[in-house]
Structures are given as structure tokens and as C-alpha cells.
Amino acid sequence: MNKWLSRIVLVGALLALGFWGWITFFPSPEKVIRRRLGELAKAGSFSANESLPAKAWHLNSLGEFFTPDVQVTLDVPGLQQTFTGRGELQGAAGYARSVVGSLSIEFPDIKVTLAPDHASAVVNLTAKGKVPGQKDFYLQELRLRLIKIKRDWIINQVETVRTLS
């Protein structure tokens, strides 16, 4: 009886280990996209006491999340603008850094809808931006289109969503 029990426990442990290995080494596209967007939120956040090389490095790493022909359409009260291309986007991000000083970005809600061929995905997310020292935070709904290039998910299109309309 004890022998059987130990065998069952061993098989269960092996199955659990195999399952853990599978989801760790072969994560679902949705999980990869969520992780990637978490990294994007980190890369988009910045603090006031960053050195110049760190700023440049962060801006450069931010560009890696987007395709070279990315299109970003902003339609929020007081700002309607479209950026085309990674260079324009990085320029705008650099300008925002010089104006705001420091910013903390989070994506508390992410909804991923994969295309049937699993080669692209549409992501709806809630972006929360907080400027240290300010009482209120900024909230913006975004719709992103990501495409799979080799094993990476890269953002190809970003547009703001008008909340409550």
C-alpha cells in the first residue's frame, strides 16, 4: 500500500513539474504579451534623477517595443496627434520626459484578443500614469495592435480610446 502511495505521489509530482516546465518554457501568446506590456510600462516610466546616459538608454529600449513603422494616434481632450515611425515616437517620448520630469506607468487591466492565426493580437488596456507629488492620476484606455515577429510580439499600432463614449 505504501509503495503504491509513494508511486502515485511521485507520478503526481512529475506531472506537476512537467506542467510547470511546459508553461514556463512554452508560455501562451497571451502570457508573453502580458509580460511584454509589463516591461513596456517599466520602460515608459522614468524618474527625475535619471542621468543623461540612462535617459538615452531608456528611450532607445522603449523603441524596441514598437515596429519601425508604428502608428500612434492620440485623441484626448486638448491633443489630437498622430506619430508615425519609431523615431517620431521616441522624439515625442523624449519631449514628454523633459516636460513632465518623472512619471510612473502601470497597466492594471489588459485584455488580449488573439487573431485566429496567432500571428497578431489586439490588446485593450487601461493605462494609469502617476506623477509623483500630484494627487490625481491620469487614466487612459488604449487599443494596441501587436504582431508576432519571430518569437517577439511587437506593437504595430496604438490608439487612444475615448472613455465613456
Binding site: 492594471p108 490625481d136 465613456l164
Partner: protein, 174 residues
């Protein structure tokens, strides 16, 4: 009839305070309490923390409240209700607004006052009023017009609009 309790066998006062006389029964109570709390605070009363000042002075920044998810089980939202509105991606962050316009109505602001179908609406809850101007906007048949109570803030910085009925998560309880 007398019952003799062996002092060595009876639980100490500390044990009695912490886990009661009958640990099995205490365990069952804890499991039931956790299960009931999970169900209530996930599906019925959603705990929320208010952030921001768009609902001032009715709801203060950083105050805690609950959203009653069953409030609209038997009737549709009504004018004046303060509701939580979920976003497309999820409900970790929601908007807390007051319903002022019902489906099919037209909503407008003139000199900070709210007009429904061209008639001035009495809003006793608005204590802070600015000079908002908003052209008449029709509300769709599956939509509600929502706005915060703090009309003193810049109109551009105040989120208001016409969410669909399905976006209304529930009614704010307190």
C-alpha cells in the same frame, strides 16, 4: 450530575481564545467565513477606494466604499444614481459617476447648469459649479449620460460621457 474535567486535558485559556474549545468547529467556521466573504466581496459588494476629486464634495478622495453589483438586477439604473463604470479591459479601475441622462434623452450644459431635453435639472448634490458649456448631446437607447458632482474643475479634465448599459458595474452603496 457532575462533570469532572481533567485540568491537564482542558485547553489553556490562550488556546481557547485563539482557536476555541473545539478546533475542528473553529476550522469549519473559518472556512465558511472565508468562502462567504469571497462570494460577497467578489460578486455582490465590490470594495472600492475613491481616488481623485471629480465626485467632490459627495465622495472624498481616498474614501472607501462598496459597489452593489446586484442593484440593477430587477430594475434599470435611475437618474441620480451614483454608479461604478467598468472599462473595456477590466474592472481593476472603474469610474465613479452620477447618472444624469437616461436613454433617449438629450443632455446639455449651459453656464454650468445641466439641461435634460432642454429643461433645467435641479441638482442639489452639486455644490461646486463652474461655467461648463456643452452642446446638446443625444443619449443612445442603450446608454446613460454620466458626470461627476464636482463641476468646478476644468471641463476638459473631467471625464463624462455616455457609457453603454453593459459598462455599468453596479450602484455605489454608501
Amino acid at each position: 450530575m457532575e462533570i469532572n474535567v481533567d485540568p491537564a486535558q482542558s485547553p489553556s485559556w490562550l488556546q481557547r481564545v485563539l482557536i476555541g474549545r473545539n478546533p475542528k468547529r473553529t476550522l469549519v467556521r473559518i472556512v465558511v467565513l472565508v468562502a462567504v466573504s469571497f462570494v460577497v466581496f467578489t460578486f455582490v459588494l465590490l470594495p472600492i477606494r475613491v481616488e481623485g476629486g471629480s465626485m467632490l464634495p459627495t465622495y472624498r478622495d481616498r474614501s472607501v466604499n462598496f459597489v452593489n453589483r446586484l442593484a440593477y438586477l430587477f430594475h434599470e439604473p435611475r437618474r441620480g444614481d451614483v454608479v461604478a463604470i467598468g472599462l473595456e479591459a477590466g474592472n481593476h479601475i472603474m469610474f465613479m459617476k452620477r447618472i444624469v441622462g437616461l436613454p433617449g434623452e438629450t443632455v446639455a450644459f449651459h453656464q454650468g447648469h445641466l439641461y435634460i431635453n432642454g429643461k433645467l435639472l435641479d441638482e442639489p448634490y452639486v455644490k461646486l459649479r463652474g461655467n461648463w458649456e456643452h452642446e446638446p448631446e443625444p443619449v443612445g437607447l442603450d446608454e446613460y449620460y454620466v458626470v461627476g458632482d464636482n463641476r468646478d474643475m476644468a471641463q476638459e479634465g473631467h471625464v463624462q460621457g455616455r457609457p453603454k448599459r453593459e459598462r455599468i458595474v453596479g450602484k455605489v452603496l454608501l
